[in-house]
Amino acid sequence: MDILISQLVAGVSIGSVLLLVAVGLSLTFGQMGVINMAHGEFIMVGAYTTYVVQRILVDAGLSLLFAIPAAFVVAGALGLIIEQFLIRHLYRRPLDTLLATFGVGLVLQQVARDVFGAQAVDVAVPGWLQGNLQVFGAVVPYSRLFILVLSIAVVGAVVLFMAKSPAGRQIRATVLNRDLAETSGISSRRMDRMTFFLGSGLAGVAGVAVTLIGSTGPTIGTSYIVDAFLVVVAGGIGKIKGAVIAAFTLGVLQALIEYSTSASLAKFFVLVIVVAFLQLRPQGLFAVKTRSLA
């Protein structure tokens, strides 16, 4: 029983990272139909931003707090640049956005390698995040708990933004009916840019979180991107609700399978489960009627 609970807790912890990584993707993939393979590299950018901020501020606790907005802005700005120069030419070719952004990812990885070196760098975990919490006999590091809280806060902010703010409504209007939105005086170009800025920025925030888990290297993004896409696919594109449920379900599943088999088999079974699940619901958990993606 203890083991089951500790695996559940571990699963929630995996799920919170997945969710944080997948929220931005859910925006760009779900809302805009852009398959941004460079999303992983935006995570890397966020992670390196955290590293740089810490080099400047030294104090780990303070720098973590400063890193979150900094990573959001840096990754978001990078996303804007890529949207402007590349992605906007490919809006009608989703599969091509996938390949082209993979090219962007390759370039960004190499830039990171040339700037920061191929060796992974470490970000110090602030003192107030060191130590563990005991939950029903399971050990949860504070840093994992912080990620959980961060992901909940981020998801809450995104949901509020999309539902309540004028900009969020305009984004949704553009997704649902681009022409009608244009007619109503919404600049769909501006909405595209804003969505992309948000999605990329959120990847940057996820980057801050992953520095708390492990070292930051040029290929850090690739280790998260495939899982994040699985979350978005299983959750149904364009639905934050779907992403939340899928992230935690896949996280828990992975933790449970890991316990009964091995870490490497778990990844495989999670894929099999997602494929099996798509037999039941090919559109994912929740589907939104958008500009047809596939």
Binding site: L90, R93, D96, G103, D114, F229, A263, L265, V275, L278
Partner: protein
């Protein structure tokens, strides 16, 4: 540039054929197939190139270069399959590394087992002895037999691709979803392999092969033979792709790419059509992987993951996804560029690879093979004024159909 005319048979290969079939039905003379002589020339040129590649390379280059080019040829075999599934069928197969890996590991297991068999009936592959693995894992057993190995190289990927493909296509999972699930597949396979430290060599992979079906790999002559074998397989695969393209099935595949629902309304099953093309691509990748092992001498998860799988796609995109020879030439060229550039500028290659991918996708979605078509159309537009070129217009109904196809 005999290459340029090859694309006449390309993204819209069904085009000319369709036109001819249709015309014949209406009792008109077989349509204006201006491409035939040029196409013949192109195929003649390709045949010469193929023969040169097969015969001249071993005559003029040392064993190292022959092996190097042999490796490119194996990658080109994979590319033929991607051209079929992606270019013709509109299915972006980003997980070919998984099938490549199946073929490669099966072949590697067989080679290690037959090497061990020479040392004694119960001898184990040396890496297992090192990792202290006392007995042979159950899934190695079947690959003692050469016949089972060859069958497995073809049938295992067919089984995996068939199951995955059919279950997805049946539920109309396609486009980006399909691409992402493929990528998840290859990521999972790579992680799985890395985890199998004592049964499949983990991240070191399998290496140290002595012989290939009884041929000593130390002998340069045998190396040349394996190289020629790979070239022969490549030519056979291209012929198979050509035959598929011209067949009824090929037309159905292109039709499914361009209008899946319409194909369904006509009474065909698009899921079946797509699965067959996907399975064929998987088999080709597996065969390419199987030949890769004796030529390169090592197979490890690094040749299989997400990045290598995309690298396969890059060659195809550069050459021209929808054409017959584009994928082959693109794969050869990109592999060659990588091995020569990566040596000279190790970090430059990543930039080059990334920018190449971006530029081709944005500016030239049809790949190099579509350049000739663009050029000819441009010339026809400016040179002949308002008179439409009777030779090209009806025969090329869909200009640059490849990117359109990817929409579905």
């Amino acid at each position: 540039m005999s290459l340029t005319s090859t694309e006449r048979g390309d993204p819209s290969a069904a085009g000319p054929d369709e036109a001819r079939v249709g015309d014949a039905g209406r009792g008109r003379p077989a349509g204006p197939v201006a491409g035939v002589p040029r196409r013949g020339l192109a195929y003649g040129g390709m045949a010469v190139l193929a023969i040169a590649l097969m015969v001249l390379v071993p005559m003029f280059f040392g064993t190292f270069q022959v092996n190097q080019i042999g490796r490119f040829v194996c990658l080109a075999i994979v590319a033929v399959g991607i051209g079929l599934a992606w270019g013709r069928g509109g299915m972006l197969t980003m997980g070919q590394g998984a099938f490549f890996g199946i073929g490669a590991y099966v072949m590697a297991m067989h080679m290690l087992l037959s090497d061990a068999a020479l040392r004694g009936p119960d001898a184990l592959p040396s890496f297992m002895v090192l990792s202290g693995n006392g007995e042979l894992p159950w899934f190695w057993e079947p690959f003692r037999s050469g016949t089972v190995t060859v069958l497995a190289i073809v049938l295992l990927p067919a089984l995996v691709a068939g199951l995955l493909g059919f279950s997805l296509f049946k539920r109309k999972v396609k486009g980006a979803y399909f691409a992402i699930l493929n990528q998840a597949l290859v990521a999972a396979v790579a992680v799985l392999l890395i985890g199998q430290q004592d049964t499949l060599g983990g991240s070191n992979g399998l290496s140290g092969f002595q012989s290939f079906f009884g041929l000593s790999l130390a002998d340069p002559l045998n190396q040349q033979f394996i190289y020629l074998l790979a070239c022969g397989v490549l030519v056979a695969m291209v012929a198979l792709a050509y035959w598929t393209m011209r067949s009824r099935f090929g037309e159905l595949l292109v039709a499914t790419r361009d209008g899946e629902e319409r194909v369904r309304f006509l009474g065909y099953d698009p899921a079946g059509v797509k699965t067959i093309a996907y399975v064929a691509a998987a088999m080709m990748a597996s065969v390419g992987g199987a030949l890769f092992v004796p030529i390169v001498g090592i197979i490890s998860p690094t040749s299989i993951g997400v990045a290598p799988s995309i690298a396969f796609v890059i060659g195809v995109a550069v050459g021209g996804r929808g054409s017959l020879f584009g994928p082959v030439l693109g794969a050869l060229a990109v592999a060659w560029a990588e091995s020569s550039l990566a040596q000279a500028f190790p970090s430059g290659w990543s930039y080059f690879q990334g920018l190449l991918l971006i530029l081709v996708i944005v500016l030239l979605p049809g790949g190099v093979a579509s350049l000739g078509q663009r050029f000819r159309r441009h010339r026809a537009d400016s040179g002949k004024g308002s008179t439409p070129d009777p030779g090209t217009d009806p025969a090329e109904p869909a200009h640059v159909p490849a990117p359109k196809g990817t929409l579905t």
